[in-house]
């Protein structure tokens, strides 16, 4: 019984992990959003100040910030009448790690390909 419930819980956990990574990448998949990330890593500008930096409407910039926030790439903080936005460094690092893991996976595959080739080259 316990292993059954544990498994269900683990699958839920996996789904959360998967959703996060997917959102991370969609968060990063737009040049404006990447620029917002850079700005908010150096400084914690208000949404108003951010909106002034781009040739688009306040609503459009707000939407980009919302996508980044859902992906956990930025966090908003209320300061008086302003909403300040800052980059979550850990989430950016997580996206980088996902690519590093992909690299490890392919390095492993290439090593195994070489092994199979060398066996074929020198049949026992």
């Amino acid at each position: 019984m316990q292993s059954g419930s544990g498994r269900a819980a683990a699958l839920t956990y996996n789904q959360v992990v998967v959703d996060n990574v997917d959102q991370l990448f969609s968060g990063l998949a737009d040049p404006t959003r990447r620029d917002i990330l850079r700005r908010c890593a150096i400084d914690a500008p208000s949404v108003t100040r951010l909106a002034e930096a781009y040739p688009m409407s306040f609503a459009a910039v707000q939407k980009h910030v919302a996508v980044l926030e859902r992906a956990g790439l930025v966090a908003k903080e209320r300061r008086g009448r302003e909403t300040l936005v800052h980059t979550e460094a850990a989430a950016v690092a997580q996206a980088r790690r996902a690519l590093d893991e992909l690299e490890d996976l392919w390095r492993g595959r290439v090593a195994r390909m070489s092994e199979v080739l060398s066996e074929q080259g020198n049949p026992q």
Binding site: A9, T12, N14, V17, R34, L99, D104, V116, L117
Partner: protein, 161 residues
């Protein structure tokens, strides 16, 4: 050293890996085109891959599963976009179920593979675009163990209350 170059573009979510093999091009191609050879390297030793349906032609479907140490199967599916033997292969790689249906909730990645031969050695260039699936498979594998422990820990804590 068979991997000669790795390029990771975080903005484009792209990994480009270049490898050189001390073997003629046809033999490297066989590693992709022969499912029995493909399954010897596609999955890590702890998650060996088994290929089932193998329609290695444009528009064709290739299905496989990877088996966890506990015997659990993780299904995957390739849609073959283009294949030009013995030089190039483009596929879309998705999560699937046991019946070969793509899981629409999971991201699909693209894989472009090119082979070139020079002086009896073969260069393989592999571009993995927006390929979160592979990275996630590993996260899944890690998450399965960590998540399980965490979940059991949480249940124990709840039961102790």
């Amino acid at each position: 050293m068979t991997v000669t170059n790795v390029d990771k573009d975080l903005d484009a979510c792209t990994l480009t890996i270049t490898a050189e093999f001390d073997a003629p091009l046809e033999r490297v191609w066989e590693l992709w085109a022969d499912p029995r050879k493909l399954e010897r390297w596609w999955g890590p030793p702890s998650y060996p891959a088994t290929f089932e349906r193998f329609e290695f032609e444009p528009g064709g479907t290739v299905t496989y599963f990877m088996t966890s140490p506990e015997g659990e199967r993780f299904y995957g599916l390739w849609r073959v976009v283009a294949v030009d033997p013995p030089r190039s292969l483009d596929v879309e790689d998705s999560f699937a179920d046991a019946d070969g249906n793509v899981n629409p909730d999971m991201p699909t990645g693209q894989m472009h593979m090119r082979l070139t031969e020079e002086d009896g050695r073969t260069r393989m260039e592999l571009i993995s675009v927006n390929e979160t699936k592979e990275a996630m498979q590993q996260l899944l594998d890690m998450g399965a163990a960590e998540g399980m422990q965490q979940a059991i820990g949480q249940m124990d804590a709840l039961l102790a209350e």
